[in-house]
Amino acid sequence: MFSGFMVNTWIVASIVAVVGGLVGFFVVLRGSAFVAHALPNGSFAGAAGAGLVGINVLIGLGAFALLGALGIGWIGRRDRPDVATALTLVLMLGLGALFVSLSVEYAPATYSLLFGEVLGVSTSQLLPTAGLALACVLVLALLYRPLMLSSVLVEVAETHGIRAARIELLFLVCVALATTMTVPVVGTTLIFSLMIGAPAAARSFVRRPGAALGLSVAIALATVWVAIAAAYDLNLPVGFFVGVLSACSYAAGRAWVAWRRRASAVR
């Protein structure tokens, strides 16, 4: 499984895991699980639309992910964030339903878009993926301090002069970027579970932000590697393994926390 096409898969998947782990750290910190779920799912509509019009699927993905981020940001100014996310998501999905029903070729391409495909990565995708990943990581590094404080203590952040609404929008765009490049291997449906399970587990085990970031990436890498190997061997969708493994990581983290609390209570 380490030759030919699969090399590309391993490379892209590793990049996906690194970005997913880093972005996911902040997703969990901010409690933006819904957004992380909504943007990839909604961007699927863009992919369907792109297929309909005949342009590159990734462009459609990226455009809709970005539009989704902007939509959530805009609605979220006057309504609760979870309502903003829900409304933006269903609008994108409604469009997706339309595009899918209007298009002729359906099942195989859509399925791999939704749930991941081990053999779908071509060499030409490597460079754009790496480029997007770098952009994403740079944005996160740039925003690190204001993002940390506005995620934890938003009122205090405002008094530091940090504009929380602007940071939120930039972060959403970051998630949209991460979404666009992660679809090839894992699929739109399950990429969010990678962005949630790994960081949630990581923060249960370590307490420094830097260490939690690192561990989040490590767990995400392990998840993706095991998922690809299993999907390749058992000929089952990658997304299935990502979803289940992420849930296992999360459960392990919570079990550790419960054990630690009981241990310290006894003392």
Binding site: R145, M148, L153, V156, H160, R208
Partner: protein, 285 residues
């Protein structure tokens, strides 16, 4: 009613003059004026819904007043003022947040700047010194979300003070504390104010915990303010005029009890009349 309001007087750290704020059709604050001198310890007293948080937000530059002005050391207020440190009333710090007390205090140094902070010994020591000053060294490396309410508050005070402000604003820090923690926080603030030579403006709904340390009090009721020393302001005649109806002030064993007569204030976040079929909600935001 504003016994000490002389806006723009040279040397005043904070000058609030004629501030009025209307929100959602309701006049929250009407013509509020007071000043704070450097190093003064001032209590902002009022019941829930009296407008304390609104006033603090105006001073911090997070809320624009409909009338009036706020000057900080002679300059108009702005959104980011390194001269003011702030400890909010409500904060949600999850138990499994990957952030130690030490990390949160470090963020106070320069959270507004872009990029990742470069770890340096000077930075580390500055954080440690601040934690020592607030008696938080024993739990400096614990998860911020696993600390008690009082401990978290101390960390937030350290976070606010590490940028060396001249004025510290605290929004109802005593609200959810037990009696002993209350006394500890007040004593801590009093000591810090003296050591670091900062002025403190602390809001509370009960004047008693602050009696031993307050220099002056700003008493808010019905959107209006009475300003002066405790003896000048916390009196039946002054407060009755402020509230607009009869109020009794009782002093027992050095404690002060303000008792509202019938028709007293109702300031709650939820207006849900019991038995009212068409109950209306005051939903936040």
């Amino acid at each position: 009613m504003g016994l000490d309001a002389a806006p723009g007087r040279a040397g005043e750290l904070l000058a609030v003059s004629g501030v009025s704020v209307t929100l959602g059709g309701r006049e929250i604050l009407t013509d509020v004026s007071f000043t704070i001198a450097p190093g003064e310890f001032v209590g902002l007293i009022g019941s829930n819904g009296a407008g304390k948080t609104t006033l603090l937000r105006v001073i911090l530059g997070l809320q624009s007043p409909n009338a009036g002005s706020v000057l900080v050391a002679g300059k108009p207020r702005s959104r980011r003022n390194p001269m003011i440190g702030y400890v909010p009333q409500k904060f949600e710090l999850d138990a499994d947040m990957p952030l130690r007390a030490r990390d949160l205090v470090a963020l106070g140094i320069d959270a507004h700047r872009y990029g990742v902070p470069r770890p340096s010994r000077a930075r580390r020591e500055r954080v440690s010194a601040m934690l020592r000053a607030v008696d938080a060294e024993s739990f400096a490396d614990a998860r911020i979300g696993e600390l008690s309410g009082g401990e978290q508050q101390r960390v937030l005070i350290a976070h606010a003070l590490i940028q060396q402000p001249q004025l510290l604003l605290l929004d109802e820090p005593l609200a959810n504390l037990d009696l002993r923690s209350e006394q500890e926080v007040v004593a801590l603030l009093h000591r810090l104010a003296r050591e670091q030579q900062i002025a403190v403006l602390i809001s509370a709904h009960d004047v008693n915990p602050l009696l031993p340390v307050m220099d002056r009090v700003v008493y808010l009721a019905g959107g209006r303010a009475a300003v002066g020393t405790t003896d000048e302001v916390v009196r039946a005649d002054v407060l009755s005029k402020l509230y607009g109806h009869h109020v009794d002030v009782l002093r027992i064993h050095g404690r002060v009890i303000v008792v509202a007569g019938p028709g007293g204030e109702r300031g709650a976040d939820l207006t849900l009349a019991h038995g009212d079929e068409d109950a209306s909600l005051e939903l936040e935001g």
